[in-house]
């Protein structure tokens, strides 16, 4: 009966790491960077504190993660969207952003759809203001209420009542 040669442990001249043909002439790529020192709790029981161990790691840092950095993918839409700027005042058919409002540049509220300016909606708004006018007036009596707010509530009161 024959037994296979022992290949466990010890120095074996035939092991791959001992074959000169396996040694790179240019050396390995090596790791990228080094690992940051890490605090290890409970080191005092082994003869040094966690802080001391952390300092030792800083003096002789361990090799970092060999995984190369991956370049972030680029968005092909960026080049196509570069001319569109959010809130660009002139980006929508050359209309100013205040188009449809009774102040600022552009058309006034006459440009809005009729359902937004219908008399029914205006009646609803007036009814809503009438309902909450007492609360609006109460707020004018709050300490620190600005004069501008009080003047506006006076205007509302004259318009609605």
């Amino acid at each position: 009966m024959t037994t296979a040669p022992e290949n466990r442990g010890g120095m074996r001249p035939t092991a791959p790491q001992n074959n000169p043909a396996n040694i790179s002439a240019t050396g390995g790529a090596g790791g990228k960077g080094t690992q940051a020192p890490k605090y290890i709790p409970g080191m005092r029981s082994l003869g040094s504190t966690g802080v001391e161990t952390m300092a030792q790691q800083g003096a002789a840092p361990m090799a970092g993660n060999p995984v190369p950095k991956v370049q972030a993918p680029t968005n092909p839409m960026e080049s196509m969207m570069s001319e569109i700027i959010p809130l660009d005042a002139e980006s929508m058919d050359d209309l100013p952003i205040s188009d449809g409002v009774d102040i600022g540049r552009g058309r006034g509220s006459e440009a809005l759809p009729s359902r937004l300016t219908s008399p029914i909606n205006q009646d609803e708004n007036v009814a809503l203001i009438k309902r909450y006018l007492p609360d609006l007036m109460n707020a004018t009596r709050l300490p620190g209420a600005p004069d501008s707010y009080k003047q506006f509530v006076n205007y509302l009161k004259n318009q609605i009542l």
């Binding site: 809130l87 952003i97 205040s98 409002v101 009774d102 102040i103 600022g104 540049r105 205006q122 708004n125 809503l128 203001i129 609006l136 007036m137 707020a139 004018t140 009596r141 709050l142 300490p143 620190g144 209420a145 600005p146 004069d147 501008s148 707010y149 009080k150 506006f152 509530v153 006076n154 205007y155 509302l156 009161k157 318009q159």
Partner: protein, 67 residues
């Protein structure tokens, strides 16, 4: 209870005075928007009016009464 910033009444003060009293029907629903901060609201007002925000500021908070 005191007048504080960034609530409905403060928003109403700023919108009514910035857009004009006659536009109160626009100012009231805008004042009901839960603005993230007075700064966000003021940027919105500045964007649509092109002018500085009007209305009370802490140095103008006085104790006048409604007639």
């Amino acid at each position: 209870m005191r007048w504080v910033e960034n609530n409905f009444f403060d928003h109403l003060d700023k919108f009514a005075n910035s857009l004009g009293y006659e536009n109160y029907e626009i100012a009231i629903p805008l004042a009901m928007v839960p603005w993230k901060s007075p700064e966000d609201r003021d940027i919105f007002i500045l964007t649509i009016t092109g002018n500085e925000v009007q209305g009370g500021s802490p140095d103008t908070f006085t104790a006048a009464e409604v007639k």
